[in-house]
Amino acid sequence: MTVLVYLDHEGGVIRQASRSAITAAAKLGDVDVLVTGPDAAAAAKSAAAIPGVKKVFAVTDTTGNSELAEPVAALLAQLAGGYTHILAASSATAKNVLPRAAALLDVQPIPDIVAINDAETFVRPIYAGSALATVKSADAKKVITVRASAFDPAPAEGGSATIEEIALPAGPGGSTFVATELSKSERPELESARVVVSGGNGMLNEENFKLLEPLADRLGAAIGASRAAVDKGFVSNEYQVGQTGKIVAPELYIAMGISGQIQHLAGMKDSKVIVAINKDPEAPIFQVADYGIVGDLFTILPQLEAELDKAG
C-alpha cells in the first residue's frame, strides 16, 4: 500500500500536525507527500527531510491558485490513481480541499481519525467527542484527515526523499484568490504548544482577556479561548479551542473562567494536565481538571504570576 499525505506548512516549514499525519500514514504503507502554496519550494525541502517520506510532490506555483481548493483537489484526484489512501492533518486547509477531492473520486471521506485498526477500519470522534465511532470504509480508496493529537509527530530531520515538481492540472475553476491575512504572533502555535492558557466567559471583556498575556508569556504558552469568549468578541475565532475550533493536547492546559461546555471539553480533554480556575464550584470544567481553584480569577491570576516568578 502507498499513501499520499497532503502537508500543511508555514513559511516553508512543515507543521508539526502534518508530521503527525505522516506517522499515521506510515502505519498504512509507504509515504509520498504533496506540498502546495507560497514557499512550496522551501516546504518541499523541509518535507524531504522527514524520515519515512519517499517522494515529495511540490507545486511551486506563485499565482495564488495553489492556495485554492478547486485546482488542489483536482491535483489530489489526479495523483490518487497511484495510492490506496490519501491523508492530511485535520487543518482548515485540509478540510477545505480533501472532501472536494473525495467527491471527485466518488469516495466518502473519513475525517478526524484518532486510531487506525486496519487499512479499512478507523476510529473517529462524533458528537463533539461524546462518542467514538469505529467505521469501516467500503470505498476502493480512503480519503482521511488525522487528528494530530492522537499520533506522535514524525521527526523533522533525518530523511532524504526525492523532490518532483508538479503542475496544477486545472485552473481556478471560477475562484479567484484575493488575499491572505495572517495574524502575527510571537507565541507558539496553539495546536502544538506545550502549554495553553485559555480564557472564557469569566474574562468578562476584550480588555480583561489581555490579562492572560503575561501569564502566557511567563509559561511560553499559546493563548486559547472558549466559544463563549469568541462569540462575545473577546478574541478572534482562530483562538477557539473546541470541537468547532482547534483541538489541542498540550502538557499543561490552564482554563481561566471557562465553565467547560461539552464542545470546549472535546477540544482539550486529551491534555496531560488540566488546571481550572473558576468562581462556580459546580462548573463542569472541574470534572476534568486535575487541579482546580474555586475563586475570582482576577484575584488569583496576579497571585499565580507572583508565585511563578517566586518559584523561578
Binding site: E67, A69, E70, A73, S91, N96, P99, R100, A101, A102, A103, Q108, P109, I110, P111, P125, I126, Y127, A128, G129, A131, A133, K136, S137, A138, G173, G174, S175, T176, F177, V178, T180, E181, L182, L219, R227, V230, D231, N237, Q243, T244, L252, I262, K269, K272, V273, V275, F286, Q287, V288, D290, Y291, G292, I293, V294, L304, E307, L308, K310, A311
Partner: protein, 249 residues
Amino acid sequence: MKVLVPVKRVIDYNIKPRVKADGTGVETAGVKMSMNPFDEIAVEEAVRLKEKGVVSEIIAVSIGEAKAQDTLRTAMAMGADRSILVETDVVTEPLAVAKVLKALVEKEKPELIILGKQAIDDDMNATGQMLAGLLDRPQATFASKVEVADGAVTVTREIDGGSQTVKLALPAIITADLRLNEPRYASLPNIMKARKKPMEKITPADLGVDMTPRLSVISVSEPPERKAGVKLDSAAELVSRLRNEAKVI
C-alpha cells in the same frame, strides 16, 4: 437570485448525547432535536441577503426522516420561502447528501448554495466541499463574511492563523462558520406563517440517487472518562503541585 440552503435535524446543541447500550450508535429516541447550529447561520445569511434585496427566493432543503419537516418549518419561520424534504431513513453521509443536492441544484438552478460548515452529529465537515466538487463549481468554506456584487461573491474565510479572501463566480457554494452572523429567533407570527409556506416531499429515488452508506459503523462507544482531580486553596499550592507533582512547569 435564488439561494438554496440545506438544513439538518440533529440532537439539540445543549443535550449531552448518550451512547446506546448495545454500542450501535447514539440514542435519538425521545431526545430534543433542533436545526444544526451552523445551518441556522446559513439560513440567517440567506435571509439577510434577501433583506438587502440581493436574493429573491430562499429554498430550504432537508434530507432525512419525515420529522426533518420540523427543521424545514424552522427554516421557513426564519425567512425561507419554501422547502423541499428529501425523505429517507438511511444514515445520511455527506457523499450521498451532496449527490441529492447536486440533483436539486440542477433542477432549481440557484446561484448560491449556503450550507453550515459542519453538522454537530457526525462532525464530518464535508458536504459543501463535496457538492462543489460534484458540480465543478467554486467553493468558499468557513465563511466569516459574504458580499455579493456584480455577478460574483467575495467571501472572507477562516483559515489557520488568520483569514483568506476569495472571489467566486456564481453559481457558488459557501459554508458558514461561527462568526458569519448571529441567527435570529423565529417570532411567533413567523412560526404561524411558516406553516402555510409550501413544502415539497420527494425521495432520493425520485432524483436517481443511491443513498447506500460507504462507511459501516462497527461500534460506537463512550470515550475514556477523565477523572476529576483535586481542588486547591491557593495559587501557591497550585504552582507547587505543577512543579513538584505534575512536573509540567
